[in-house]
Amino acid sequence: MNKNINLFLISAFASFTLFSCNNSKESSKGAISTNAAEKVYVAPGEYDEYYGFFSGGFSGQLSVYGLPSGRLFKVIPVFSQDPEKGYGYSEETKPMLMTSHGFIPWDDSHHPDISQTNGELDGRWIFINGNNTPRIARIDLEDFSTAEIIEVPNSAGNHSSSFITENTEYVVAGTRFSVPIPQRDIPIKDYKGNFKGALSFIKVDQQSGEMDLAFQIHMPGFNYDLSHPGRGKSHGWFFFTTYNTEEAHSLLEVNASQNDKDFIAAVNWKKAEEYIKAGKGKKMPANYAHNKFDPETHTATHTMKKEVLVLDATEFDDLVYLLPTPKSPHGCDVDPSGEYIIGNGKLSANLTVHSFTKMLDAIENKKFDGDAYGLPILKFDEVLAGVVEQPGLGPLHTEFDGRGNAYTTFFISSEVVKWKLGTWEIVDRKPTYYSVGHLMIPGGNSRKPDGKYMVAMNKITKDRYLPVGPDLNHSAQLYDITGDKMELILDFPTIGEPHYAAAIKADKIKDKARQIYKLSENKHPYSVKSPNETKVERKGNEVHIYMSMIRSHFTPDNIEGVKVGDKVFFHVTNLEQDFDVPHGIAMLGANTSELLVTPGKTETFVWEPKQVGVWPFYCTDFCSALHQEMQGYIRVSPKDSNIELSWSLDDE
């Protein structure tokens, strides 16, 4: 056991010293000498060529950057509360964060994937997985906000997600941790044979984008690490890397690293559809949340779903085949043609590439090497397309440039290696700073990659920027990959821990980006269409304020008759119909965040006054020249006071 760890450390150390010479050579070149500055410079007022969507990792969000400039445009709140935007705090957005475990204010967001048509990015939606409490979110790329979140039952550590098929038929979510299905009280050491791994196929409505968990395939109790869809000729298949085929339940770093080969599970989802159509799926009780944001009422709804359709992989023929892949493969990547399936065996010295054509042939001719829980294991040599020999240490992920090259990240040797599909020869290698995880080429996970830039997302930052204490933002690096050699052209810090990113040509979405919500289409039950409709109502101890905001006042701005112990709902409508004129509102002593209301929207927060007095509220977004005047007062009287509710603007 100790030997293993030592070997690992020595190799890691050796690689570090090996490449550190490289580093110093690289950094002595100035940006000027290579025109790097010119390549990433986007002049003031000009637009970037690409939108880059970077997952927030432990921030739970999705950030939007411009490429090649590396400028941050927006952080889209997805799985975590965001007081800046009131997301997860406002009454309208709280339901988005509901799960079968109740309200959860956080998650760990990993792998964004942009919707596709015919294997090309179409920019309708972007999907992202919540890893900790398994969920998939859909973000609308018209208003760049979270439109829907669906919880994934029977899953745990929703990591081999959220990858989509080439016509966005499904967004697929695989479990990293296998668990007892259904969940039950059993000894942990009974893992082997009792724990299962669920792969979920979530159907996407092509018009509305709405998600629906169509079926799950229950697999042996391995860890399903990452996945990618087949495309082109392999469309209809989905590939998942596995580790811990040892089915260890403790000290996995050792016990799950024993098998010489783990598997890539090739799932024939078209076949699964046939079985489901033929009524072979078993209905299983479940309990999972489905949360949707209604763009007309500007309000989220939370419902619980109670059933899931299941196929047990071990009971069906031709559904799943296992491709032996050396040493705990991590990334599972499919080249643009759909022919090559790359297993990035993170503890392997070589990079294994499988052939889809050979796989079909091996299946046809039953070239099996035994089975695991009844799932045929294909003979390694019969599916192997080739091996990239000694490319580096700790391969994690591979992307493609559409010109026959692949780019693989190496965590331990901290580099990106460019190699040729088919000949498996190494063309170039460049260091990253430091310990790169995922990399991303715009469209790199599609039939048509846009091989101009490559972004490496690093796990360790250390000395890349001015020091800011012990915790550092993760660092991304942008490379120009148009030449034979990759060229590092930009470093930029990111938010949280971007595990993966997706980028799309700006032209595909920028012109449909929403500017305002039309007030006339606002169907929020507490909306007002003009200041004349504003009012204050009492229902028992609930006080509902129908309030409007426009530059530069609230209507009403004086309210009396509120009492200690009341629950005061501020339903605030922004009457503006002008681009980029949000108004904020915050109440002194309210136990929640502000609201930031974009034009035409209605949002609600609750204030429970605890002290008698006259308390101010104000606009939190510098909206106009008279923003500082945009304020109001609420008089709070004792509980037993008999002051009637009254409200006014300018004493009228």
Partner: protein, 202 residues
């Protein structure tokens, strides 16, 4: 005379363009409005270039106490102008038809042209009066009461033609398609007179 009468008819018909295209356009750009707000002035009312431009112009103008942009029923011009234009157009067509059948002399075309020109000038004069009123009849309780270096209250009327800097805004005021069609139409009626006159002399 036939050629000139056809020109007269076409020229008069072009006036109907005013029912479909704006007569005038005023654009208001500012640092905060890189895409300018704009109003299109039709003979029967004022519309925003974009759906909410008028609302946003009014919203901004309330700071300096300007009245809201008038609706079609708040100004007599928007009722009378369409009637005048329709009448003139129909009269022009009738004159053209009459000319075609040699019932009238080309000088009728000239008379029409002069009448239309006078009406047009009156219209412009009236429009300018409105602009001045719009820009200077300010709410005494306006949030911002700006004065020039001499202490006189600032006025905010957009220019009748061309550019004017109004506080942080750059106002640009120019004729639009409707006006160009009308000008072309009038030019044609004048040519109609000219051609008619020449053919008569021949």
């Amino acid at each position: 005379m036939k050629k000139s009468s056809i020109l007269m008819i076409i020229g008069s018909l072009l006036l109907f363009g005013l029912f479909y295209f704006p007569l005038w356009n005023i654009e208001l750009g500012a640092p905060q409005y890189p895409i300018p707000l704009g109003m299109n002035i039709y003979i029967n009312g004022i519309e925003g270039v974009e759906e909410f431009d008028l609302q946003n112009i009014d919203g901004l103008n309330h700071y300096i106490g300007m009245k809201t942009i008038p609706k079609a029923d708040q100004m007599w011009e928007f009722t009378v102008f369409p009637i005048v234009i329709s009448c003139m157009s129909i009269i022009g067509i009738v004159l053209g038809v009459a000319g075609y059948f040699n019932k009238i002399k080309p000088s009728y075309f000239l008379f029409w042209f002069i009448t239309m020109g006078v009406l047009g000038l009156l219209g412009m004069y009236d429009f300018n009066l409105w602009l001045i009123d719009y820009g200077s009849d300010l709410d005494p309780h306006a949030i911002m009461k700006m004065v020039d270096p001499q202490g006189n209250p600032l006025t905010y009327e957009p220019p009748l033609f061309g550019h004017r800097k109004i506080l942080n805004f750059d106002a640009y005021s120019y004729p639009h398609i409707g006006a160009y069609l009308m000008a072309l139409g009038m030019l044609l009626t004048f040519i109609a007179y000219w051609v008619g006159l020449k053919s008569k002399n021949d």
